[in-house]
Amino acid sequence: MSDIRLGMLIDLSRCVGCNACAVACKQENGVPLGKFNTWIESWDVVDGSGRVRRANLPRLCNHCTDAPCVDVCPTGASFHAEDGTVQIDPDKCIGCKYCMAACPYSMRWCDDETGIVGKCTFCHTRTANGMDPACVNTCISSARIFGDLNDPDSEIAKRVAAGGDEVLLAELNLRPHVSYRGLEETQAMEAASAKHKGGNVYEPYEGR
């Protein structure tokens, strides 16, 4: 392992749910229709003062340090790369889908035509060449910040240290490398609409 540990921080106050990240990702990575490496969940919330606001939660592979998908992979197709990211070697993938079942974030998909599993790579081909992932590059409101978490001088390390260290499913303690700012506050607010994945209903609203 090198000293690099790539990670992403998403400032939820800035995400407007435009889904440009989801489009850029699909174009960069050739993700098949119906599958997404990243998407945004959007829903209405009622804040503490009774005002209604629109929550947007970008989702992607969390690149866990203790990654259940890597643990269950029978062929070594899912593995940790030198930069700390979780990657898939398509030549080794046999399409058993254990990883999909094991991922608590449901961030993996299987290509209907090839049977090979895919997911967010943090745009490995870009980051290996010093560029940001496509979603970060295209984010219109600079909500996504990317970099080396091990470099204390990096913007992401500073921002994580300053309160950007909230993670999804923290109770699982998988030590993910995707963190959020404003996650707990957002999730604590009363939901007041269906949850949408992009613009499609993901979780219907059951009412109050």
């Binding site: 939820l12 629109r54 409101s141 609409s193 613009g199 009412g207």
Partner: protein
């Protein structure tokens, strides 16, 4: 619409240095020009804690009002009531002395500047209020007052108009140009004519209702209105308001006048941090330093003075030939078949109704380009409209030019293939709340995918009109189409011939830009462009044209946007109308009445100003629509994008939690919204807190019938359509019963702006 409200630069809030912005009917981070840069600027400014914002909108958009962003709120409002909201804020401002009285009392630009501002208003100008006077409702002119005017300037193309004020120092009538400060709230007689100031006329409709009535109309609580009014007026000129979508309503004038009056009342126009000029570009497609692209030798003398738009705009009914002929024939107060809109600009929506009604004249040859006006006109009457469009007796020849066969193009006799944005040229002034000066250049990033013509050109709108223009001998086309500033003449045969000359104009605007270096041209692949491009300009210009292309346009240093003493660096004479003479003097031919010349609130009405609620029961049709810009479609486009369809398959009928509970509707139920004419929208319900009570939120851009959704048979070759392109529904709206009768097809529209009614209207909702 702007002819009704102001003269001068186009303005928008300064998102770099604002302290407060009130958004109405346009949602930061969700829509606007461009939504991307607005989203970023608003997020930055709010995150720095340097400003506050409120967003007044019937629907909570996906935008900057996020759970954890501080300083920004969404306030739901009933559709088509922005005029009432703004009236309430103005009432509060007047009652609390919270307006820029020094500015409102400044009768001319110099006086406004002397008072520390960068604009003036006609609030102090006198308006004739005397039914017996032939100039009733007009602003008083020097002649009405018996005042002498300065001698005319024989050199000037147009002579100034002199209005009349009561000079504060002398208490006497004076030309508006001759007074430094005028009485603001005054009524009396001048030269025996009864007059009132614009400001005094504004008070009348504003004080017609109290704050509680405004709260009832808008659905915004009195406390909230007062909080916003206080905030809006607590930041000097570093506060402003912006409206957009709300103007696509029958009450569009009120909404438009509303936000402009608010800005006028605090004097923020052209002030840094307030409402600043945008879209300022050097001359490129006009008569520039290298090519006279605006001047056309031998151009026929056709203008709005001697010709009539088919859209019935830019001319009052009473000044039409038809009106004169009918009056001469003995008719008293003749009524037109379709309304006329003196303040409207060329409108494709109105043109559509003109074409299908063959009024005011028949469109014997109709050419449409990048146009799908059927899809962006609310749907009521569509079947009848399209039946007439397809009838050769109504439209003998229709030529469409587009990249897709859309709802309108499918009825054309001929379809000319066009280039897409990556295959075409353009020179555009900057948008997106970037307030520098410059222009972006769009040029072919790829070889067009259209057919290659035998001479090596590619099919496009430009190639088509160049050939037709040449063949027909139309001035401005052919061998000597374009005049160089040096007296040379140039042929116009393709798109590059025109736009690269526009780029040359841009490059030679002062100060002239440098040549591109050979090395940079090579690195950017600009040494390998088509020979026809290089031939479109001189050898001297070419390296400068390449330099502009290499930079995506021409942009001046952004610091030039800031001028002296807190003013915009681009400030020039700007007048906002507290009193709109054009609107106030527009006699409605169906009722014989006049509308109010100032901001006020008029309930949604039809073409004769009769309220909709007198035609249809609000109890039976209690809902109004808010037809907003979608995230995953554009107005008529992008349904052909598989990724966009992947992100969002369809749209919804969005209703509030309270309304859903009252109607027994659960999220996801199929429901039906019906207009009084019986037009129906059916879709899944989205039950959400993010929509105002009594409102149906509807994302625009769905529900295509063509655009690739349909099977297309061209000379026996069948191309199968993809029904997924047509998923969802397009908005249905009320039809104007005053006009749409006896075989006349007509939607409903803003009686001033001519904009088709998209927001508002009357609907009932039930389970499907």
């Amino acid at each position: 619409m702007r002819a009704l409200t102001d003269t001068g630069n186009a303005l928008e809030p300064d998102l770099e240095e604002c302290e407060y912005v009130l958004w109405m009917g346009t949602f930061p981070g969700s829509n606007g020009k461009s939504m991307q840069s607005i989203a970023k600027q608003v997020a930055e400014r709010l995150a720095q804690g340097k400003c506050k914002m409120d967003v007044i909108d019937p629907v909570l958009g996906n935008g900057n009002v996020t759970p954890t962003m501080e300083g920004i709120n969404w306030i739901p409002i009933k559709p088509a009531t922005n005029g009432a909201f703004c009236s309430a804020v103005v009432r509060w401002m007047i009652e609390n002395d919270a307006y820029a009285a020094d500015l409102l009392a400044a009768p001319n630009y110099a006086a406004g500047m002397a008072a520390g501002f960068a604009s003036f208003t006609n609030a102090s100008h006198l308006v004739i209020v005397d039914d017996a006077n032939p100039n009733n409702r007009k602003l008083m002119r020097a002649a009405d007052a018996g005042l002498e005017t300065p001698p005319a300037d024989p050199e000037a193309k147009t002579q100034p108009t002199y209005y009349v004020v009561i000079d504060e120092a002398t208490g006497q009538p004076a030309l508006h140009t001759a007074s430094d400060r005028a009485l603001l709230d005054w009524e009396g007689e001048v030269n025996g004519v009864k007059v009132r100031t614009g400001f005094s006329l504004l008070r009348e409709p504003i004080f017609e209702r109290d704050m509680d009535e405004y709260a009832e109309i808008t659905g915004v609580s009195r406390g909230e209105i007062e909080r916003i009014a206080r905030e809006f007026t607590s930041h000097g000129v570093k506060s402003s308001t912006r409206a957009a979508g709300s103007t696509c309503a029958q009450t569009g004038f009120d909404a438009s006048m509303g936000f402009r009056t608010l800005n006028t009342m605090i004097g923020c126009n052209q002030m840094i941090g307030g409402n600043v000029p945008f879209g300022l570009a050097p001359t490129s497609t006009g008569d520039g330093p290298r090519y006279k692209l605006g001047a056309v030798k031998g151009k026929p003398d056709v203008s709005t003075k001697n010709a009539t738009y088919i859209s019935r705009t830019a001319r009052p009914w009473q000044k039409t030939d038809e009106y004169a002929a009918r009056v001469a024939a003995g008719e008293k107060d003749p009524q037109p078949k379709l309304p006329w809109y003196p303040a409207g600009v060329a409108s494709d929506n109105q043109a559509l109704f003109s074409v299908v009604n063959q009024y005011p004249y028949q469109a014997k040859i109709m050419m449409t380009w990048m146009n799908n006006v059927i899809q962006n006109t609310p749907n009521g009457l569509r079947a009848a409209v399209t039946e007439r469009l397809a009838d050769p007796a109504v439209v003998p020849l229709h030529i469409a030019c587009d990249v897709v066969v859309g709802e309108l193009a499918q009825y054309a006799d001929y379809i000319v293939p066009d280039t897409n944005p990556f295959e075409s040229f353009g020179v555009v002034a900057p948008q997106g709340h970037w307030h520098g000066k410059g222009a972006g250049v769009r040029w072919q990033a790829k070889v067009p995918g259209t057919m290659e013509l035998p001479d090596g050109r590619y099919a496009s709108f430009e190639a088509f009109i160049c050939d037709v223009g040449r063949a027909c001998g139309v001035p401005g086309f052919g061998d000597d189409a374009i005049a160089g500033a040096d007296g040379s003449s140039w042929a116009l045969d393709d798109v590059a011939d025109y736009f690269l000359k526009a780029v040359a104009n841009l490059a030679y605007a002062e100060p002239v830009i440098d040549d591109i270096s050979d090395e940079e041209a090579r690195m950017q692949g600009l040494d390998d462009l088509p020979a026809s491009w290089k031939a479109a300009v001189t050898a001297e210009e070419w390296p400068k044209v390449l330099k502009a292309l290499s930079r995506g346009g021409r942009f001046y240093p952004v610091f030039t946007r800031v001028g002296k003493d807190g003013r915009s660096g681009y400030a020039k004479e700007y007048q906002s109308f507290v009193y709109s003479e054009l609107r106030a003097t527009n006699k409605n031919p169906y009722s014989g009445t006049f509308a109010c010349g100032t901001l006020g609130y008029t309930p949604e009405s039809f073409a004769n100003w009769s309220p909709m609620s007198e035609w249809y029961s609000p109890e039976e049709y209690p809902f109004a629509a808010a037809n907003y810009k979608p995230r995953f479609r554009t107005v008529t486009m992008e349904a052909n994008s598989p990724i966009m369809r992947d992100l969002c398959a369809e749209n919804y009928l969005e209703i509030s939690l309270e309304d859903a509970a009252a109607l027994g509707i659960r999220d996801g139920d199929r429901i039906r919204a019906t207009t009084p004419a019986g037009d129906v929208m059916e879709a899944p319900a989205m039950v959400r807190a993010g929509v105002a009570a009594g409102t149906i939120g509807i994302a625009h851009g769905y529900g295509h019938e063509a655009y690739g959704a349909q099977d297309v048979d061209i000379d026996g070759a069948m191309t199968k359509g993809n029904p997924a392109i047509g998923s969802g529904f397009n908005i249905q709206q009320v039809v104007d019963p005053v006009v749409a009768k006896d075989g006349v097809l007509y939607g409903a529209a803003d009686n001033d702006g001519s904009t088709p009614l998209r927001n508002g209207g009357m609907f009932k909702i039930e389970k499907a």
